[in-house]
């Protein structure tokens, strides 16, 4: 993999987004770790939380909490309104046609499983193909593999080229191997930061009559998403990666498909009527939301979307590009560091690298002693790690509260790593 990047991009944070000012919204930065301020460079795993979001959840619990949808009393009405308002915010975030198409789930993983089970169990069989990519996160890989095995469908992987980009020239030969029924891809790779050509894959999927499932877990936090422009049928996202709480995410799906699908989880709330012999299902989105919803979490998700929208997704994306370019630039000065993935202008704020002769676990451990949090491991991308020929990498990932100084500290820390293990 190359170490190319666009060296022209300078860090001009001030003109776009004031990370230093935004940091004040995040209580986590008020502590020190190992006596040092926290350089949190693991936002791709999960982001930190702004006070505004935490307060929205607490306020909901303190003033408007009750189980939703069924209560006639005022508290229940308030809670229901708050939940449905958040649904509308997710709709707007994704530019989805209708809030009926937005289903609250625990996380992107559950959203993808929902499609795999509810659509896959009834529509896949021998002779069919489910197609994913080689850089897929396990959460958009294993569910498809699992359902393919359960139904007898085939399972194929679109391979990567040496720059970490999908080899679309392989599509034709894949299509000759069976009926392509599902195409699943991440919008942005959590390991390499690669931005995938989802619109082209969607066009290919639809040519073959397949459904297109996009994993937006790593793109929704960082850039404006538009499910209609992407041309997908389903998109799954997680709140916790985008300043929202843990415990909630959303699946968007086209109403025509969701309506024809069997339900996934069944039980309270998602039914129309329950009889001994048979039960019938409620309308969208309720049909897919069995049991008590993650209500306060949905409210927090809505507050997180407000927070990000106010800053502006364009500003966030531009700023992260700058940080990624700056980091790649700095790492390129270290001959004993190998970095992976596409050039800075074709990636999100994620940088994966290895230090010659030092296991990522040890790198991350030494950096932790410096108050720097990065991730070391396979990043839930074992197929990709195999392709890169490594067991693991280090990954530094950035967000709107990341400041260039933290990248400088990362580089200083790597020198210490080198010294200790060299």
């Amino acid at each position: 993999m190359s170490r190319e990047y666009d060296a022209d991009v300078a860090v001009t944070a001030k003109t776009t987004l004031d990370a230093q000012r935004l940091r004040a919204d995040f209580p986590i930065f008020e502590q020190t770790f190992h006596g040092k301020p926290l350089a949190f460079l693991d936002s791709a795993a999960s982001s930190q939380k702004p006070r505004q979001m935490l307060e929205a959840m607490t306020h909901f619990y303190e003033t408007s909490y009750a189980n939703v949808h069924r209560g006639v009393y005022q508290l229940a009405e308030r809670a229901t309104e708050a939940l449905e308002l958040s649904r509308e915010k997710v709709r707007a975030l994704l530019n989805a046609p209708s809030a009926r198409e937005v289903i609250f789930v625990r996380n992107a993983t559950e959203g993808i499983n929902l499609v795999a089970y509810a659509w896959g169990l009834s529509n896949l069989g021998p002779g069919d193909l489910v197609v994913v990519t080689e850089l897929e996160h396990h959460s958009n890989f294993v569910p498809w593999q699992y359902i393919a095995h359960r139904t007898g469908a085939g399972f194929r992987m679109i391979p990567l080229d040496d720059h970490g980009q999908l080899r679309l020239d392989e599509l034709d030969s894949i299509a000759r191997e069976g009926n392509v029924k599902v195409v699943a891809t991440g919008v942005v790779s959590n390991s390499l930061g690669t931005m995938n050509p989802v619109d082209r894959l969607a066009a290919w999927a639809h040519e073959h009559g397949a459904i297109m499932v996009a994993d937006g877990a790593q793109s929704a936090p960082h850039m404006k998403m538009d499910v209609q422009a992407l041309g997908c049928d389903f998109v799954a996202i997680s709140a916790h990666k985008m300043c929202g709480p843990s415990g909630v995410g959303a699946l968007w799906g086209k109403a025509e498909l969701l309506e024809r699908m069997e339900p996934f989880l069944t039980g309270g709330h998602m039914i129309r009527s329950v009889g001994v012999d048979d039960s019938t299902w409620g309308e969208l989105p309720h049909k897919f939301e069995a049991g008590t919803a993650p209500m306060a979490e949905a409210v927090g998700f809505g507050a997180a979307i407000d927070y990000l929208t106010e800053i502006g997704f364009d500003a966030i994306e531009r700023y992260e590009h700058e940080l990624a370019a700056y980091a790649l630039d700095k790492l390129a000065e270290l001959p004993w560091v190998t970095s992976y993935g596409p050039p800075a202008d074709r990636r999100a704020g994620i940088v994966s690298f290895n230090v010659d002769g030092v296991h990522p676990h040890d790198v991350a451990q030494v950096l932790d002693f410096e108050g720097i949090a990065i991730r070391a491991g396979h990043h839930c991308c074992q197929p990709l790690m195999r392709k890169l020929g490594v067991a693991a990498t280090n990954r530094a990932s950035f967000y709107l509260y990341t400041i260039p100084d933290e990248i400088d500290r990362l580089v200083d820390g790597l020198h210490k790593v080198r010294k200790a293990f060299g």
């Binding site: 069924r70 309104e81 009926r100 109403a255 009527s273 409620g282 309308e283 969208l284």
Partner: protein, 144 residues
């Protein structure tokens, strides 16, 4: 005026206690039933159509809360003489104006159940369009 009197104003209670056009027509040119599973409201509506598919007679039966039953009773008065197409296009606000009471989202579903059932009956008998917001799955009527 208290909140109770606002919601359950005299006219509502009157329609609830003495519903107009109560009882199903047999034979009927159009009929349908629907329920609001959240609270157990149930409504069945029957219609006799005249020239131009104009509603000549309408009868309903049901059980449920005062709002759902009173609203349906008021609806039956309202639609007599209208064509099937006119009813299909009738905005729910026409009925809500007639009701003239403040409604929370949950109670709104009670109030418009009868209207939905009537539209469904006409759709089944005469192919008039169903409200768009019902989506493509509105085979049977459920307001949730």
């Amino acid at each position: 005026m208290g909140e109770f009197e606002q919601l359950y104003r005299e006219l509502i209670l009157d329609h609830y206690k003495s519903p107009r056009n109560h009882g199903l027509l047999d034979p009927a040119d159009a009929s349908a039933e629907g329920q609001n599973p959240l609270c157990g409201d149930e409504i069945a509506v029957t219609v006799r159509l005249g020239a131009d598919d104009r509603i000549e007679e309408v009868g309903f039966d049901g059980r449920g809360c005062a709002i759902s039953q009173a609203a349906t009773s008021m609806l039956t008065d309202l639609v007599k003489g209208k064509t099937a197409q006119e009813v299909a296009e009738m905005p729910k606000d026409d009925l809500l104006d007639e009701l003239g009471i403040p409604l929370t989202p949950v109670r709104l579903k009670c109030a418009i159940l009868g209207l939905g059932v009537l539209k469904l009956a006409l759709h089944k008998a005469r192919g008039t369009p169903l409200p768009e917001e019902w989506g493509t799955s509105a085979r049977d009527l459920v307001l949730e």
